[in-house]
């Protein structure tokens, strides 16, 4: 779990970037795909509606032509005296009847000419039981059967109207146009006119305009379907469609979208005022869309594009973020390595530039820090040097007092030596401007100091010098050893009254070692105060202490050099000073 979170942090940038990109790409393509499909649907629907409006006009005009022909034929039959006689007269002589039959045939043929363009038959039946049909095979042949049909009854109920009726009872659906034949003077009905056309034939007025999902219906004013390219709907009542059609007609709009039989349909309608019928066009949006817009292909292709885009984004962002996160990792690891390791410059241009800039900054930082350290070292050194050079006035006062006593006692010789030693000491401390001096000079200096101390406090502490001959000309920082001698003088022999101090200087490998060994009281080395403080008024220099020496050496030459003290109470103290070998005065460090 922890590993996973860590990994996530490692690739956080990549994951965030990649996810954002993926989400945006998908969102964009989904939106575009969706709106493309919607737009083409809309566009298609619009054009479809326009074409279908024209189609429906065409269908309407076809019907009007047809209904006009039918009305003309019916009128001719109605107006024919011969036919009236044929249907109303009783039997007469053969000759007269033959003429009547012949003329009726002629009249009917003439009336039929009006509708010759259509495959239909015309029939008349009369009150005298006679009938005439232009083609009995087309529809019911039997007069009695016709008389019993509902459509005959309807005709007689509304004798003045040309009725379009559907007959589904006698075989294939037939559309029968009927009208009662009326004697105008007496208003009595002498027969009926039937014009029958197969629904399949009737359908030809519009069937070429229909297709799957694009249906046409001819609806009567009572809401029943007179004819349709959908055979299952013929004869059905669909009042809701009729209402919609009436509204479309009333509002004068081209089309409207409706929900019908659980599907979304576009409905167009046109009123046929002469017949009081509606031509209704229903377009099933889904079926039509499925045929025309291949949603699958559109979706599939946009999906492929998304896939390609995501892959490219994946590769590019991975490459970019990889170098960036590496950079970040290296930078965060930098503090562990003291800022002295450069970051690797890889990856894109931006990342490289970033890495270069970072490395440059690192360089600058290094320089700056080094400079600062140097400055601080110099400052500290100067402080320490200044401290060293402050000669304790008490020391001077005590020494001069000792000289005065020697002079008063007349010990002129010794007084002169003491003054010489003091002079040499002061000369070295004040007069010499160099930071370092030769071991020889330092020893001379020490000897003067020891001499003065021995003059003042007697010779119970013997000081002996063991200088390796090859060390005499080597340089050491000024006043390095003096504080330890001073220390030994004033602190090591408080209980013991006499003893010795050995000063040994030799080379050990690449270091110069000065050892100050006494056999005095010794001390308990406290971890805190490794080096004891000085007591002021007996010291030569007021500002310098043993600890300062250690600090100064380290400041000057580094931490591998310094002062080491080992001591046991009652056994004396062993001080070991390690210094670099400096063979000349012109030491670059100082």
């Amino acid at each position: 779990m922890g590993r996973m979170i860590e990994k996530f942090n490692d690739h956080g940038l990549f994951i965030k970037m990649f996810l954002v990109m993926v989400v945006s790409i998908i969102a964009v393509s989904v939106t575009i795909t969706y709106s493309t499909i919607r737009m083409s649907e809309r566009l298609f629907m619009d054009t479809f509606s326009i074409t279908n409006t024209k189609v429906i006009h065409q269908v309407k005009s076809n019907f009007e032509t047809f209904s006009n022909s039918v009305a003309t034929a019916a009128n001719e039959v109605q107006q024919s005296g011969t036919i009236k006689n044929y249907l109303s007269q009783g039997d007469t002589t053969s000759l007269e009847m033959a003429k009547l039959y012949y003329n009726t045939h002629v009249q009917m043929d003439r009336a039929h000419l009006n509708v010759d363009d259509y495959e239909l038959s015309m029939m008349v039946t009369g009150v005298n039981g006679r009938s005439f049909s232009t083609d009995r095979a087309n529809w019911v042949a039997d007069e009695e059967q016709i008389a019993a049909l509902d459509l005959t009854k309807n005709t007689l109920e509304e004798p003045r109207k040309l009725l379009y009726q559907l007959d589904t009872e006698n075989g294939a659906p037939m559309i029968v146009v009927t009208k009662a034949l009326i004697e105008r003077t007496t208003d009595s009905i002498y027969g009926a006119f039937y014009l029958s056309i197969r629904e399949s034939e009737f359908k030809r007025f519009y069937s070429s305009f229909t297709s799957e999902g694009n249906d046409l219906l001819i609806m009567k004013a009572d809401g029943s379907v007179l004819s349709s390219n959908r055979a299952d709907m013929i004869g059905d009542a669909a009042p809701e469609l009729l209402n919609e059609a009436a509204e479309i007609e009333e509002e004068g709009i081209d089309f409207r979208e409706i929900e019908w039989q659980d599907t979304r349909q576009i409905m167009l309608a046109e009123h046929l005022p002469a017949l009081d019928m509606y031509v209704v066009n229903l377009i099933d949006q889904e079926v039509v869309m499925d045929n025309l817009i291949n949603t699958k292909t559109v979706v599939a292709s946009s999906f492929l594009i998304v896939l390609a885009a995501v892959s490219i984004v994946f590769l590019i962002s991975r490459r970019m973020t990889k170098s960036l996160s590496q950079l970040v990792r290296e930078i965060s690891a930098l503090s562990k390595n003291n800022f002295d390791q450069y970051v690797t410059a890889t990856g894109s241009f931006e990342t490289k530039q970033l890495a270069y800039a970072f490395n440059d900054m690192l360089d600058e930082l290094h320089n700056y820090v080094e400079e600062l350290i140097q400055t601080q070292k110099k400052q500290r050194n100067a402080e320490l040097a200044a401290l060293q050079r402050q000669i304790n006035p008490h020391f001077l006062y005590n020494t001069l007092t000792s000289v005065k006593i020697m002079v008063q006692q007349g010990n002129k010789e010794k007084a002169a030596d003491t003054v010489n030693a003091l002079i040499s000491l002061l000369q070295n401390a004040v007069g010499n401007v160099h930071e370092t001096m030769t071991v020889q000079a330092e020893i001379d200096n020490l000897k003067s100091y020891v001499f003065i101390n021995q003059v003042r406090y007697g010779e119970r502490i013997q000081v002996s010098y063991f200088i390796a001959p090859d060390c005499e000309e080597l340089h050491v920082p000024k006043l390095i050893i003096q504080p330890f001698i001073e220390n030994a003088f004033f602190h090591a022999f408080n209980q013991k009254t006499d003893g010795f101090i050995h000063i040994i200087i030799f080379k050990e490998e690449n270091t110069l070692v000065c050892e100050i060994i006494d056999n005095g009281d010794g001390m308990q080395i406290d971890s805190r105060h490794a080096l004891p403080d000085s007591r002021r008024n007996r010291q030569l220099f007021s500002g310098i202490g043993v600890r300062n020496v250690h600090e100064r050496i380290k400041l000057l030459y580094g931490s591998e050099f310094g002062v080491h003290i080992s001591s046991n109470p009652g056994e004396g103290t062993h001080i070991r000073i390690t210094l670099p070998i400096i063979s000349s005065n012109n030491n670059p460090k100082i």
């Binding site: 996530f8 003429k99 012949y102 049909s133 994946f314």
Partner: protein, 428 residues
């Protein structure tokens, strides 16, 4: 992280696989097959039934040939043939077509290349002679004769008896005698002797063929109306019937059938193909008989005629060989088929070798035990062969109108002369 990537990739590929679209396969087109024979004919009770029998017999022997029988109204067949043949393409046309003999010449002469020469497919001498002239052209036999249009006088023996006649009195009579009998019958029973459609001069054609005459000369082209003695007599007989008031008019086939089924008329002079319609009214069983058709009283007239009748024709095309083979082996030479046709449908063929069979000798109880098939077969041999020529129906249309003029009092010579003039003008 890698696992996540794999998962992402996998799901992407999976989705891509899911969205693959299914491809639609193309529909196969129908190919013209030389082993498929399509036949057009009309009348399901007669021609189509006969075809189905022939098909059954033929397919037993030739299982690799597919026979398709399509029923069409005669008018449709005529119209489609005219359209198809005049456009010079056999596409959409059948391999075999049934054509009425009256119309045959108009097709054969207009489109001789469209029809398959059947001379070698059957023996012409096996068929009734009168069928050969209408079905052949330019010395080649194109049609295979099918049904006989041999006519008879169907009469109600019960009405005859009421008027004091027997079937014997109707043997060998002429049309004038027929009218006299009709008057008596009407007097005795109140029933009309005959039913006629004023728009169909079938009776006139029937009459003139008894005398071996036709609307046209022997050449089949020149109208022969003026001075046509047979035609003149036929017109006079027709008007005689009207004047005698023994005619019940009808306006179409259904009324025609209804008129004798209802017992309103005493006789029906027409082709033998009416037999099934007559027998359809079972209650009249035993009341009918068939007499020889009356003749015209011109020299050489016989008491036998023809009305209607049709023949099979093969149209040139991929399957014409198979079609000719089918016709040759069935209607062209199979006596058993004709026996079966007679027994099951009552269809009388014109194939002479089959006319002696058992089925022909069978007595029919509906017709009072008369062996009508045998009688028809006998009359068939007497029919005078005619070239119906090309314009039978065109001339008839003129005649129908002129007949009305004649009935209205125009003199017969004027009628025929006018008709001649019109026909010549129209057919030129």
């Amino acid at each position: 992280m890698k696992k996540m990537m794999m998962l992402l990739m996998a799901s992407v590929l999976f989705l891509a696989a899911c969205s693959g679209s299914d491809s639609a396969d193309g529909g196969g087109g129908s190919e013209q097959d030389s082993n498929k024979v399509t036949i057009w004919a009309w009348d399901p009770n007669f021609n189509i039934a006969a075809l189905n029998m022939a098909k059954e017999m033929y397919e037993k022997e030739n299982p690799d040939v597919e026979i398709e029988i399509v029923e069409n109204a005669q008018a449709d067949i005529v119209q489609k043939l005219n359209t198809g043949l005049s456009s010079g393409t056999s596409k959409g046309l059948p391999s075999i077509v049934l054509i009425e003999d009256y119309r045959a010449q108009s097709f054969l002469q207009a489109y001789p290349d469209a029809f398959h020469d059947m001379s070698d497919s059957f023996n012409v001498d096996d068929f009734a002679e009168y069928k050969i002239a209408p079905t052949s052209f330019d010395g080649k036999q194109y049609g295979l004769p099918f049904d006989s249009g041999v006519t008879g006088l169907y009469v109600r023996t019960d009405y005859l008896e009421e008027a004091g006649y027997t079937l014997e009195d109707l043997q060998g009579i002429d049309w004038n005698e027929y009218i006299e009998i009709g008057k008596k019958v009407k007097e005795a029973t109140g029933k009309d002797m005959i039913t006629l459609d004023p728009n169909d001069l079938g009776l006139i054609r029937l009459m003139i063929q008894t005398a071996g005459a036709w609307y046209m000369e022997e050449d089949g082209v020149t109208p022969a109306l003026a001075g046509n003695e047979a035609l003149k007599q036929a017109f006079e007989a027709y008007k005689g019937m009207m004047d005698a008031d023994i005619v019940k008019p009808n306006s179409d086939w259904s009324q025609f059938v209804a008129n004798f089924n209802s017992g309103d008329v005493a006789s029906v002079p027409t082709g033998n193909w009416i037999t099934p319609s007559v027998k359809a009214e079972a209650s009249q069983s035993g009341k009918w008989a068939v007499a020889p058709i009356p003749k015209l009283s011109v020299e050489g007239a016989v008491n036998a005629s023809n009305l209607g009748g049709s023949s099979w024709y093969v149209l040139n095309g991929d399957s014409s060989e198979a079609a000719a083979d089918f016709l040759g082996k069935t209607f062209g030479s199979n006596a058993d088929l004709y026996q079966q046709l007679v027994t099951e449908i009552g269809a009388i063929g014109t194939y002479k070798p089959a006319s002696g069979g058992e089925a022909y000798e069978k007595a029919d109880e509906f017709f009072g035990g008369q062996k009508i098939i045998s009688d028809f077969a006998g009359w068939t041999e007497e029919i005078q062969g005619l070239n119906y020529g090309m314009h039978t129906y065109a001339i008839e249309d003129i005649m129908i109108v002129e007949m009305q003029n004649y009935l209205n009092g125009k003199s017969i010579d004027d009628v025929l002369n006018d008709a001649q003039a019109q026909a010549e003008a129209q057919l030129k």
